[in-house]
């Protein structure tokens, strides 16, 4: 006879685990149910090629909330984030190389443009100010847009007051960041094309938008968020891959008494008299709980795990309308040695950071135009990391793993659909782009894994392969995420909550949704008690 739990968390991704840890920490008996044999969801490390361990999907930690690291004492549970040193943009016969050494970066940018170097300073300072202003929003609970609860409006009111007191140029920058394309935004400061393209690239990651699409500027901020988060850098790789993050959170959850089951796929969320009472596994096993939190995306949760008639049809329509449109792919390579770049030959520090194949704004936009036409980018934007240079434990001595994040790879192809042949041609296109700048890459490859959006959907249950559990477009943020009027982690079903990237503040290895959802659950129970 299965016992009854205080809380069941569907999905052992990093957000699900964060929720579980916070609930267990508050003395709720908590059970995490993960479909796969490994924990972490998209924040996972797997040995794809014997001896080579990959951050299969998500490959860097960007915005893991410091309060989570503190509350759950993650370092004590093995979390260690190794800094990524800068961004290297290889070009024909030249390169743009920004490092964490400010003076060196300034010299490098001055090599391209004196005015850009000057602007870069001012820009950086402004962005840090912006990040400081935006940060509270990441932990705020979106208001109900129809019947606002004053308690939720207070922090927002505070935000409005802070905004009204900001210097004019910061107010302007905030509005521009929320509304502009990253290309237009950067044009105000810079003239160096590869610099703009490489910076703009961060604005389009995971979205079906181009560098010239309004709404992409905001993500430029994320690069600066980390700088105000104290000890941890903006971008880094966890020791042991991104799975290391999940493992440390899982370990913290267990330490607080949570139970975690893998290979326990949930078939149904059980609902009785309009409230969630537990789940039924695909094995048929039924497990009861007082509250159910789903870290799966809105489609998985509302359209797959619930009986159709449990939800109001207008709500279901709005869920169907929610946009996923995955746009990214991933190529993981096992290498016999290090790539040798024509523009900067030999091994060196430039390989230790991100290697960004983003030579120009046009290049980036053309990659997007391919996707709009329903085909993967013939010459894709590719963001490459070689984790073994900072964490040799990921591969046998002398060997390397290479992670290539690729855009664009639309989930829906104009002709045909993603099959093995398409997957390999896509993979080849990525290798070609790298080989243009580092010709020796082909001879180094001893193993390769190509993930199309379809693979991402099937492996990680991310609808349409959207890595953020839903497009981070303006109309799907904050009080509209995932469904207008249901953005407050609650769902129309009592005691069923969302705690994944599907809710505010969205995707990335941030953990924020998982944390806020758990705190909301705890608050509602206190109010009920």
């Amino acid at each position: 006879m299965a016992r009854s739990w205080d809380a069941i968390v569907i999905g052992g991704g990093h957000n699900g685990l964060v929720s579980a840890a916070y609930l267990a920490r508050a003395r709720m008996s908590t059970l995490v149910l993960e479909r796969r044999h490994v924990l972490g969801g998209a924040s996972v490390t797997e040995e794809i090629v014997p001896g080579f361990r990959f951050s299969v999907a998500s490959y860097v930690v960007s915005l893991l909330r410091p309060e989570i690291i503190r509350d759950l004492q993650l370092p004590r549970h093995g979390l260690e984030i190794l800094p990524l040193d800068g961004t290297f943009t290889p070009l024909d016969g030249d390169y743009l190389w920004r490092t964490n050494d400010h003076a060196q970066t300034m010299r490098e940018i001055r090599r391209w443009s004196a005015t850009d170097a000057e602007a870069y300073e001012e820009y950086g300072l402004l962005m840090v100010e912006m990040a400081r202003f935006i940060k509270p929003i990441l932990s705020a609970v979106p208001p109900d847009t129809i019947r606002p609860d004053p308690r939720d409006l207070l922090p927002l009111g505070g935000l409005a007051r802070t905004f009204s007191k900001l210097p004019r140029r910061q107010q302007t920058a905030f509005i521009q960041l929320m509304t502009m394309s990253s290309s237009d935004f950067l044009d105000q400061w810079f003239e160096t094309d590869p610099l703009k393209a490489t910076m703009a690239a961060s604005g389009i990651i995971g979205t079906f938008l181009g560098v010239r699409s309004p709404g992409t500027a905001y993500v430029l901020l994320h690069h600066y968020m980390g700088e105000i988060d104290g000890a941890f850098r903006a971008w880094g790789i966890p020791r042991g891959g991104t799975g290391g993050v999940s493992e440390s959170i899982a370990s913290a959850a267990r330490a607080h008494g949570a139970t975690i089951r893998t290979e326990a796929p949930v078939a149904r969320i059980n609902v009785r008299h309009g409230r969630a009472t537990g789940v039924t596994l695909e094995s048929g096993e039924e497990i009861e709980a007082k509250v159910v939190l789903s870290s799966a995306d809105a489609h998985q949760t509302f359209l797959r795990m619930l009986e159709p008639e449990t939800l109001d049809p207008t709500f279901t329509d709005e869920v169907r309308r929610y946009r996923f449109r995955g746009s990214s792919g991933k190529v993981n390579l096992a290498l016999d040695g290090l790539p040798d770049f024509t523009c900067l030959p030999g091994p060196g520090e430039h390989l230790r950071g991100a290697i960004s194949f983003s030579p120009s704004i046009d290049y980036m936009e053309n990659a997007y135009i391919d996707a709009k036409e329903g085909r993967f980018s013939r010459r894709p934007y590719t963001d490459v990391i070689i984790p073994t240079l900072v964490d040799p434990s990921m591969a046998p001595p002398g060997k390397h793993v290479m992670s290539c994040f690729v855009q664009y790879a639309p989930y829906h192809l104009a002709d045909g659909s993603w099959d093995d042949a398409q997957r390999e041609t896509f993979g080849d296109a990525v290798i070609d782009v790298i080989a243009e700048r580092a010709p020796n890459i082909r001879d180094l490859i001893v193993g390769r894994q190509v993930l199309t959006p379809l693979d991402i959907e099937q492996t990680f249950s991310l609808t349409e392969g959207n890595i953020f559990q839903g497009e981070l477009s303006l109309e799907q943020l904050f009080f509209n995420r995932p469904v207008p009027g249901h953005a407050r982690f609650r769902t129309p079903i009592r005691d069923l909550w969302l705690c994944g990237s599907a809710v505010h503040p969205g995707g990335g290895i941030m953990g924020a949704p998982g944390r806020i959802a758990a705190l909301q659950v705890l608050r509602s129970r206190r109010l009920a008690a």
Partner: protein, 552 residues
Amino acid sequence: MSASATRRYDAIVVGGGHNGLVCAAYMARGGLQTLVLERLDKVGGAVATAELMPGVRVPLLAHSVGRLRPSVVRDLGLTAHGLRLVAPEVRSVSLQSDAAPLTLWGDVRRTAAELGAAGSSHDAAAYSGFDRQTRALSGLLARLMAITPPDPSHPALSDALGAVRLGLGYRALGTQDGRAFLRVLPMPIADHLDDWFESDALRAALAWRGVRYSAMGPRDAGSTQTFLADTAGTREGAAGETVFVRGGPGALAGALAAAATAAGVTIRTGATVVSVRTRGDRASGVVLTDGEEIEAAVVVSGLDPKHTLLSLLDPALLGPHLGWQAGNLRLKGSVAKVNLALSDLPAFEGLADQDDARRRLRGRIVLAPSVAAIDRAADAVKAGRIAEHPVLEATIPSLVDPTLVDGSAPARHVMSVLVQGTPYHRRVGDWDADREALGDRVTAELETVARGIGGQVVARQVLTPLDLERDHGLTEGHPLHGEPALDQWFAWRPLLGFASYRLPVDGLYLCASGAHPGGGVTGWPGQNAAREVLADRRRRPAWRGMPSRDAA
């Protein structure tokens, strides 16, 4: 001119475009001695009639004026001053090279019925719901457009009142529309329409209104806002407006000028303002090309904000940061204009039957076969290329207004063609060299839906984006004085803190499309700006000392 060198006015309006005239008329009615200075030999700006050849008249730039505020017509008595508006029952007809034309009628039921007959019962059923929602959402947007945007740094009581009015309007929408409003406003129009319709032709016909005159594509966030704004303040719904001025748009400019003059406004044409003079920290008048100086405590610019701030003001007054911001204002023009005199009514594909053809062709004739086609044209603009297939919106005003063509003229009809997909900023090429090539390209596009039209052209006028700037004072050829995108909207149009029509210099105002609520032939910015000027006058005791014209 030495006499008038000492001439003083209460207010000077720089630029006699329609917003400048509206603003001037309202200021004069508010008791200000007002002078309008127009560079060209006639007022009206983009609202003008061109004579293509003797006895053949055509809308020079704007061809449909259905967004003109009814209150402007009423308050200024434009009808009494000769304004005659003609609204055909059809709103637009989208021509397809491979399918029957898609017509949007003023009558929603008629449109829905034709959509059903064309084979989409789904769209037929959805259309009236979409039309209803469009009216509801643009109704609330209209309230937003009527208020003076706040300055977040200095919220005023009037802002609170405006907010309350908006809040009530939002409440009145109800739960469904309320949520829809907050959701769709920043959306790409393509996505918004995907939620409603399955026919690409229909989506394209509607999406076009979301990106017209803009460098945005239908997949760009914010194009739903522009779509709704195009309906806001009109009695039109989803189909949008199509309204002609009898005698051509110039007749509207004429009526506005007459109304302004009747209200006591002095209008001087051929008078180019080179700079705004300041005394202390406030505007004190203007200087003309010939050095003539005219004094006024209020200077209102009817020009675009970029030109106003960077060319008319002393850079020292603006300061480096504002100068930088003004330089970054986005007004990358993307449209050109081709006007044709035709020997006869062109024979359009699928519009064989003369009477039926004539009925449908009275509307805006849109060549935008698909949302993707509109998007490709926008992509070309973003890349600084002329689009392979520009989007065209043509009107044949002579069908509703025979007075445009004299019987003796060798032409029977005139066609006004708005061309979108022609960037002012081109990577390569020179507009002066490519003017005629552009004309030919447009005729070639028209040939695909109206075979033989090329042979019917008896006169042609081509206005490139460069011509729009040089000859019609539209900086970078942008008819809206600035992109209508979300980053140049409401309280930050043209710049945050200067959206209340008051520019950085005391006594200097902006009254045209570069200000909230943006471009189009509405008179809205002019109306709002005049309201603020008059409010300041009531507020500022300092003004009492200003010598009136009689005292001078």
